[in-house]
């Protein structure tokens, strides 16, 4: 399979605090990979390294075989290929819903406004927010914001979409609408990398589940193995604690 990203010996430390040590894994086209693990295990940092929002301290990130940490490819060009959905939505507060989905297309991809709008509407339709195009972010609910954030990322037509705990900041009743959109995307063949605490989502939707603990990947396998018959004691312990709640 065509590997979009391959990570080799990735390391990240903040000062003396080592957050990621020797991470190796890859994501192929069309895969849905869920990263699970307790708080502080480094899963968000790993995702942020993939988008260079955090700059790795060592190792390689191969994008279609080219190491983006060495290549002349600018960070901005690479980032445009990796969409990101944040825990706190981070919609542009000064722009309405439609402009949130258009600004990147116009400024970064240099598209003309008409085709940018068409693309934006297509994805706003997909996430069910096409009625709210003139609303400002502070006028809509958290779940709606997150759906717009997903449409914004999709409008850039990225090769992969990174989700950083997309439902953790939502009221429980609003989690469903966002997960529904994500399931729809997963079925459409989009490459997704999801840091999540939603074990149900990981079990049902993911092709692969990665369990992280203290900055290392403990186990990387299909959901059936991870959830039913994990090989590692730490995975078993984590799942027992999480699923009990």
């Amino acid at each position: 399979m065509d590997k979009i990203i391959e990570i080799r010996h990735l390391q990240k430390s903040f000062g003396t605090n080592v957050v990621l040590r020797d991470i190796n894994f890859s994501v192929s086209k069309g895969e849905v990979v869920c990263i699970i693990g307790s708080s502080g295990s480094g899963k968000s940092t790993l995702l942020r390294c993939l988008n260079l929002l955090e700059y790795p301290s060592g190792g390689e990130i191969l994008y279609h075989g080219n190491n983006i940490l060495e290549q002349e490819m600018s960070n901005a060009v690479y980032r445009a290929k990796m969409g990101m959905v944040f825990q706190q939505f981070n919609l542009f507060n000064n722009l309405n819903v439609l402009d949130n989905c258009m600004v990147g297309q116009i400024k970064v991809l240099k598209k003309d406004p008409a085709s940018a709008k068409e693309k934006a509407m297509e994805y706003l339709e997909l996430v069910g927010m096409s009625q709210f195009i003139t609303a400002k972010p502070n006028q809509i609910s958290g779940g709606q914001k997150q759906r717009v954030a997903i449409a914004r990322a999709l409008s850039m037509e990225p090769e992969a979409l990174l989700f950083d705990e997309p439902t953790s900041a939502l009221d429980p009743e609003l989690v469903g609408e966002v997960l529904k959109v994500m399931k729809k995307l997963a079925r459409s063949g989009l490459t997704m990398l999801v840091v999540t605490h939603e074990m149900g989502f990981a079990r049902d939707v993911a092709n692969r589940v990665v369990f992280m603990d203290s900055g290392v990947i403990v186990e990387d396998d299909v959901p059936e193995v991870i959830f039913n018959n994990p090989n590692n004691e730490r995975t078993r312990e984590f799942l027992r604690r999480t699923l009990e709640e």
Binding site: N51, L53, A76
Partner: protein, 257 residues
């Protein structure tokens, strides 16, 4: 014959109204121009002072940035740390003595107010940029925007909205503080009021009129800027016209923040 206060005011206004109006016009002109130029200076410096510098920055760029930043800091500290009345004297007479440039008082006045406001605005803008949520920068970077695209399209519009109250404050201060320019004979409101009072020696009555004019100007300006703020914020309630099932429905979404 003893005049009442009101009779004095009417008399002074009737004989000096053109002086008051010219003074008010000059005051407003200097304050407005000075605030706008100062705002522009503040934006430029604020942007420069918030350029992110990290380990990946080229060493030469880092040193150049340090030097520029130091010079800007000197400008800010010197002009914030000395009285405008003294700056006016130094610039006006200094320009004449050192460079043999004889500035017109109004030009000198605008120059002083601009660079003085610029020094304050630089810090206000910097604060405004820092007050924008870090997530806004990250989201903009994540869709591939460069630092300057992020600034121009996402951060500055929000920062400017956030610093509007402080800017309106600066404008009001400038309307009042142009009065110190009377020391370099700028024909602003206070200077002309003084000359009017010098004719009739009715200082209290004349300055009472001056007070009212200053207040009308500052109050009008704060109201106008407040109105602009409200306009920029837009309504806090969003109405959808027509739903999928009922086209004539109006669904009101109340601001949930």
């Amino acid at each position: 014959m003893e005049r009442t206060f009101l009779e004095w005011v009417i008399l002074i206004w009737n004989s000096n109204w053109s002086l008051f109006l010219i003074g008010a016009r000059n005051t407003l002109f200097i304050a407005l121009t000075g605030t706008i130029i100062g705002f522009a200076i503040g934006i430029v410096i604020g942007i420069i002072r918030t350029i992110p510098i990290d380990d990946n920055t080229h060493p030469v760029a880092r040193i150049a940035y340090k030097i520029i930043n130091f010079l800007l800091l000197c400008y800010i500290e010197v002009f914030r740390g000395t009285p405008m009345i003294v700056q006016a004297m130094v610039v006006f007479y200094g320009a004449a003595w050192i460079y043999n440039i004889h500035l017109s008082p109004i030009t000198a006045g605008i120059f002083i107010v601009s660079i003085n406001t610029g020094a304050y605005m630089a810090e206000i803008v910097r604060g405004g940029i820092l007050s924008v949520d870090k997530g806004q920068f990250e989201a903009a970077h994540s869709i591939g925007m460069t630092h300057f695209q992020t600034m121009a399209n996402i951060v500055l519009p929000q920062a400017i909205r956030n610093i509007l109250p402080a800017t309106s404050n600066e404008f009001v201060i400038n309307i009042k503080d142009t009065s110190v320019l009377s020391v370099i004979s700028v024909t602003e409101l206070f200077f002309l009021s003084k000359s009017a009072a010098g004719v009739n020696f009715a200082f209290f009555q004349t300055m009472s009129i001056t007070c009212v004019i200053y207040f009308i100007m500052t109050f009008t300006v704060t109201r106008i800027l407040r109105y602009i703020e409200i306009k920029m914020d837009g309504p806090s309630v969003f109405t959808i016209h027509g739903s999928q099932s009922v086209p004539e429905a109006q669904i009101r979404i109340v601001n949930r923040e």
